[in-house]
């Protein structure tokens, strides 16, 4: 009997695995919330990118600006529509024959002009692709769930005003009301400087749990058991020198948040009964 059960369980498990392998029943799609509370996913268009897209039930279709259409080499049909050869969403979704509107959206331009979202926004994904999936947005999770539906969404209709069947009014309807205020945003991401130290949060402060061999902390002579007291920033640099007391994990996080690779710090630690001040040059690393 037991043997039967085991065999049965094994069979069920195997079947489950096979079913899950091809094609997946659901996808875990990585997303980020932008500073403007938009749901951002990334997509590669015809193998190029990744580009940043907002998931937008307020848009009838995928929208990309003209410049991007040119960059990824999609051809227009004369009515402002185009079709991607390949449309891949980060997390493993590949949408067959995804159609897109090619149009410059002032809302995205406005946000990008101000750098409001904290990331450059390249386009939006609307109804014609969203409707092919049952999508769950849960902001306590770090992935969205996309379940493919056996559903071919009908083409959206315009609202019968203006040119192009009124579709231009149906771009994302309520993005940020951005203007152009002469701000020059920079979307470049730089890695934070690397210390190579494992930390431990205790009631009375933050301690070094271990240092990675050959890492910047180890090279500077920081040792396991050291207690962080303070960090001095802006040594020999353009910035003003600052001393930050380290009483809590948050203090340490704040002190290091803007530090870059190559920055020189002074780290003040208590080692036993002695207070040591060590010069550390941050490296590159994660």
């Amino acid at each position: 009997m037991t043997r039967w059960l085991i065999a049965l369980t094994a069979a069920v498990c195997t079947t489950g695995l096979l079913a899950a392998a091809d094609p997946p029943e659901s996808y875990e799609i990585p997303y980020r919330l932008t500073d403007t509370k938009h749901v951002l996913v990334r997509a590669k268009l015809n193998g190029k990118g990744p580009y940043n897209f907002i998931l937008d039930t307020g848009a009838p279709a995928v929208f990309i600006p003209k410049k991007l259409a040119k960059e990824v080499g999609v051809k227009l049909d004369g009515k402002g529509w185009s079709t991607f050869d390949r449309f891949e969403v980060e997390g493993g979704v590949a949408v067959d024959g995804a159609r897109t509107r090619v149009e410059d959206l002032f809302q995205l331009e406005g946000m990008n002009g101000l750098g409001l979202a904290g990331a450059e926004l390249h386009g939006v994904i609307g109804y014609n692709v969203l409707a092919k999936y049952r999508i769950t947005y849960d902001f306590t999770a770090d992935k969205l769930t996309w379940v493919p539906l056996d559903f071919d969404p009908p083409d959206p209709k315009g609202i019968g005003r203006g040119g192009q069947g009124g579709l231009e009014v149906l771009g994302p309807i309520m993005k940020v009301l951005g203007g152009l205020m002469g701000i020059n945003p920079n979307f470049e991401v730089r890695g934070r400087g690397f210390l190579g130290a494992e930390t431990e949060d205790r009631k009375d402060g933050v301690y070094v749990k271990s240092v990675l061999a050959d890492g910047p902390a180890a090279k500077a002579g920081i040792k396991a058991g050291d207690k962080f007291l303070a960090i001095r920033l802006g040594i020999g640099g353009m910035q003003k020198a600052r001393r930050i007391d380290i009483d809590t994990p948050r203090d340490l996080a704040r002190a290091l948040a803007e530090a870059k690779s190559g920055d020189e710090l002074r780290i003040e630690v208590r080692r036993g009964e002695v207070i040591e001040t060590t010069a550390v040059t941050l490296g590159g690393g994660l």
């Binding site: 500073d35 998931l55 937008d56 904290g118 020059n184 991401v189 190579g196 994660l286």
Partner: protein
């Protein structure tokens, strides 16, 4: 520094969202199914009751950072009585915008309390309303992030229903933050954003000199979490926790979203083969 504050706020949110074993287990909240209508323009239309008044027809929009109603609904539901101090700052430009708080918003069997909203006659909402009014009635606003972010929200266009299940997520006050962001945008004046891993991984990356996907693993620090998982210098990292790592910036961004102690997949190409490693970053810098 502002970026950093936002970043840590995000971390704090994640931390707050983590299950807390010390608390008594809460009964799993029941998901509620709410049907919606689909306009010919493919907007989702909901019947929404505000402060017991209505129902009003509002568009459900995942791309909207705000809840918004027109001035008629604002008056009818008594929203304008509860204007927020300093409401409408930078939006004064657009005329007639008030920031208000909705005491109670009901959609189907779902009730949400104390929600921010703006009262404004939005031209696009008006245009959609006049196009479809004959068939669907007046359309008078938008339900966006401040509402649906409180739930695990599932959108099913095939069945034309929303499924809402309450979560512990607390959406931040969007408009309150906006002014700060505008200020910091001019302050920062075009400096790159510094992004750090949320934990200690113990390896470094460098850009590859071709256009193929992935970044090159440069150093792997002995005894670190990445070394323990079997990462090797020369590996080409394709994804970290399911996120593409096609640039050094991408690698930091992906690692910024993984809390220490969580085990995630790192996919690398080594000798032409894709290998999945399981890495658990620790707390550190």
């Amino acid at each position: 520094m502002r970026t950093a504050t936002t970043f840590f706020a995000a971390i704090a949110l994640f931390a707050a969202a983590a299950p807390c074993p010390a608390q008594a287990p809460k009964a799993d909240p029941k998901p509620v199914v709410v049907p919606f209508k689909l306009l010919p323009s493919r907007h989702m239309l909901l019947d929404v009751t505000l402060n017991g008044k209505g129902p009003y027809k509002l568009i459900f929009d995942t791309g909207a950072p705000l809840n918004l109603v027109n001035s008629r609904v604002g008056k009818d539901a008594g929203l304008l009585k509860k204007k927020k101090a300093g409401g409408g700052f930078g939006f004064g430009l657009f005329g007639g915008v008030s920031q208000v708080e909705v005491d109670k918003l009901q959609v189907g069997d779902v009730t949400a309390v104390d929600l921010p909203a703006v009262v404004m006659d939005h031209p696009t909402v008006n245009a959609i309303s006049s196009a479809f009014e004959d068939e669907f009635g007046k359309i008078e606003g938008i339900v966006g992030f401040p509402f649906f972010a409180r739930y695990a929200t599932t959108v099913d266009y095939q069945k034309q229903e929303l499924v809402l299940k309450p979560t512990d997520y607390k959406p931040a006050d969007y408009l309150g933050d906006l002014m700060t962001r505008l200020m910091s945008a001019s302050e920062k004046g075009g400096k790159p954003r510094v992004v750090g891993a949320a934990g200690l991984w113990g390896f470094s990356v460098q850009p590859a000199d071709d256009k193929e996907p992935g970044v090159l693993v440069k150093e792997v620090f002995q005894d670190g979490p990445a070394a323990a998982a079997g990462l090797k210098p020369g590996d080409r990292m394709l994804t970290l926790d399911g996120r593409w790592t096609d640039s050094v910036g991408d690698a930091y961004m992906a690692a910024s979203l993984v809390r220490p102690g969580r085990t995630v997949a790192v996919v690398v190409k080594r000798d032409g083969k894709d290998i999945t490693l399981k890495v658990t970053p620790t707390k550190g810098y």
